[in-house]
Amino acid sequence: MVAIARKSGGANPLDSLRQKVAMPYLLLLPGMLWLIIFFLSPILTLVSTSTKVPGMGIGEFVQEYRWANYWDAITAMQTQFIRTFFYAIIATLLALAISYPLAYAIAFKSGRWKNVLLVLVVAPFFCSFILRTIAWRQILAQDGIVFKTLEFLHLISPDTRLTSSAFAVVTGLAYNFLPFMTLPLYASLERIDPRTMEASGDLYANGITTFRKVTLPLSMPGVVAGTLLTFIPAAGDFVNAQILGNPSTTMIGNVINAQYLQTTNYPLAATLSFILMIAILIIVLVYIRKSGTDELV
């Protein structure tokens, strides 16, 4: 260290040493400031709002550090919480089931169409999220293609409705977040050396075994990334439930939205937001731990 400092040194070798030590912190500074201003301080505001209680005037809240707010919120909204995670999990699984074959085909079977297909996967993003969700309502409507097809196949009776239902909300979530699933899956499948699959066939594994023992394990980083990127926004979403759902499909996002903008019960909204955040964080941590892909990522 001393030798290095001398070599590069000006008048005082210790000065340049100090500079070297300070450099990493200097480089970290903008990022840290950003985090403090736009992440840490809003979170603190959120937590502090969550323990307030209504004051004398309308829309006035007083800080009383009432942590019981959390228990109250969970008890009051447990149905919505459970429903939210249930919907998010089903939508994630649905997106995975649709995306895996799609990503597999793009990565290994698409040849010169690869880039076109990738653009098509991302193409929905060129259109607004709200618009896409409204379009989904048209697609599922009584005179839409989905309903007509199911009716033709006698899989649905003419007086059922697909819109304003849990079905519409879950499929809407899966549809809207599909690219978040497909792209990480594609990226991890693309990275697999096709020769490992050939080697598996060479070592007496048939197609299904090769998929189970080689392709799927090697694509696990993509599966984990894709499911997280789908599950997290799906759990926090309120647009799909609002546009495609009915009063009995309310998700926690809708509740928070309503508490903030309509009821203006800020402490309850803040409490619910914070619980949602912690719940997602715990689920994600447990999931990553369980899937054991840390060394592959």
Partner: protein
């Protein structure tokens, strides 16, 4: 399971194998028998069809026409996982998510073998890496990965082990060492090895029999010594080592030898070492067989006079000369540095001489430069 992975044994036979991509013939009507237990090399430059041939034997490509047999069992249309064949891939293709032990055990587990642990341990002993069983492939060096790739294949005791440029990714020193080791392993396990390479030294060190491939066909097949001493085509003469090939005419035949006229000078070649069909001949002599001397010397055997040294490279064990002949062609001469005489200098006038038994004759209508432009170190 009704597969051939354990039962089929015997010679590998390719009969009239053709592989066409569009209107390009990668492999062109190839017929070949590889005897059981031999170390066989397919040698050729990039794009000569050797890797395609290997992949067809492994079942990774389908031949356009022809059949493949192992012993009496036809495997032409058999799925790769049913064939009694295992491959050591060019970049090893180890499974990165599995431990070394599980990599080696992969084939055994798929076939439901009972004593997996015992067999894996044994083969890891053979490649001298039993202490790495619990590591992941990425934690191994290139040479170690290469050995594991071999172990993963031979643990299954296939009728046939295919090696696709197995040493291509290793540095020169390690490659030399692995050549010896692979040869030793082959002798030890007694399996048939089919080795694909563009490296003539690699093929010559390890293989009992070499087939030199060019443009989808076999140019010549034989033992390394046979190929080197008796090349039948200009391609083989140039691709396997180096050769001086000079255009000439057979002007007389007496007893066992032809007298050949090379731009006015007469040299001799044994009749049975010449494959020339008519009087037009490509006269060949290997650079290390030539003696180089100043013009004043008297010589026996074949002599070519009137050379001028245009380049000298001293490379320790030998000195390499480029000698320009009166007809403008440059010949190569490798002279052992074993006589204590200092090397000749650039610009010296010299004569070249050699024993007539070393001369060989090729078909004079061939292109004398065939096989010499391909870069032997380039990768496929």
């Amino acid at each position: 399971m009704s597969d051939a992975s354990t039962s089929a044994k015997g010679d590998l036979q390719l009969r009239n194998i053709t592989k066409t991509y569009g209107d390009f013939n990668a492999v062109d009507d190839l017929t070949l028998t590889i005897p059981e237990g031999s170390f066989f090399a397919l040698l050729g430059p990039s794009g000569c069809g050797k890797t395609t041939t290997l992949r067809m034997i492994a079942g990774l490509e389908e031949p356009t026409a022809g059949t493949i047999h192992v012993g009496s069992t036809e495997i032409t249309d058999m799925k790769p996982y049913r064939r009694p064949v295992n491959t050591v891939f060019q970049n090893y293709a180890l499974f990165p998510h599995l431990s070394i032990f599980e990599n080696v055990a992969f084939g055994l587990r798929r076939r439901g073998i009972k004593d997996v642990k015992e067999q894996v341990d044994k083969v890891l002993q053979l490649v001298e890496l039993p202490h790495l069983a619990e590591r992941k492939p990425t934690q191994l060096s290139g040479g170690q990965q290469q050995r594991i790739a071999v172990a993963r294949a031979i643990v299954n005791r296939p009728a046939l082990l295919l090696l696709d440029e197995p040493l291509g990714a290793l540095d020169l020193k390690l490659r030399r060492q692995m050549q010896i080791e692979l040869k030793w392993i082959q002798t030890e396990v007694g399996l048939t090895f089919v080795h694909v390479t563009h490296d003539q030294e690699e093929a010559m060190t390890m293989a009992d029999t070499i087939a030199v491939m060019n443009e989808g066909r076999i140019e010549q097949m034989g033992t390394p010594a046979d190929l080197y001493d008796n090349p039948q085509t200009a391609f083989v003469a140039n691709f396997l080592g180096q050769s001086n090939l000079i255009k000439g005419n057979v002007v007389a035949t007496d007893g066992d030898s032809h007298t050949v006229d090379l731009f006015g000078q007469k040299v001799k070649v044994n009749k049975n070492r010449s494959v020339a069909r008519d009087s037009s001949i490509l006269f060949g002599i290997r650079p290390e067989k030539i003696r180089i001397q100043e013009n004043s010397h008297t010589n026996s055997g074949c002599v070519l006079e009137g050379g001028t040294i245009v380049d000298v490279s001293y490379i320790g064990v030998s000195t390499q000369y480029q000698v320009e002949m009166p007809w403008g062609q440059e010949l190569m001469v490798f002279e052992q540095n074993d006589d204590g005489i200092p090397p000749l200098a650039k610009g010296d006038s010299v004569k070249l001489s050699w024993e007539p038994v070393f001369s060989f004759g090729l078909n004079g209508h061939e292109d004398a430069s065939a096989g010499s432009e391909v870069n032997p170190t380039e990768d496929e």
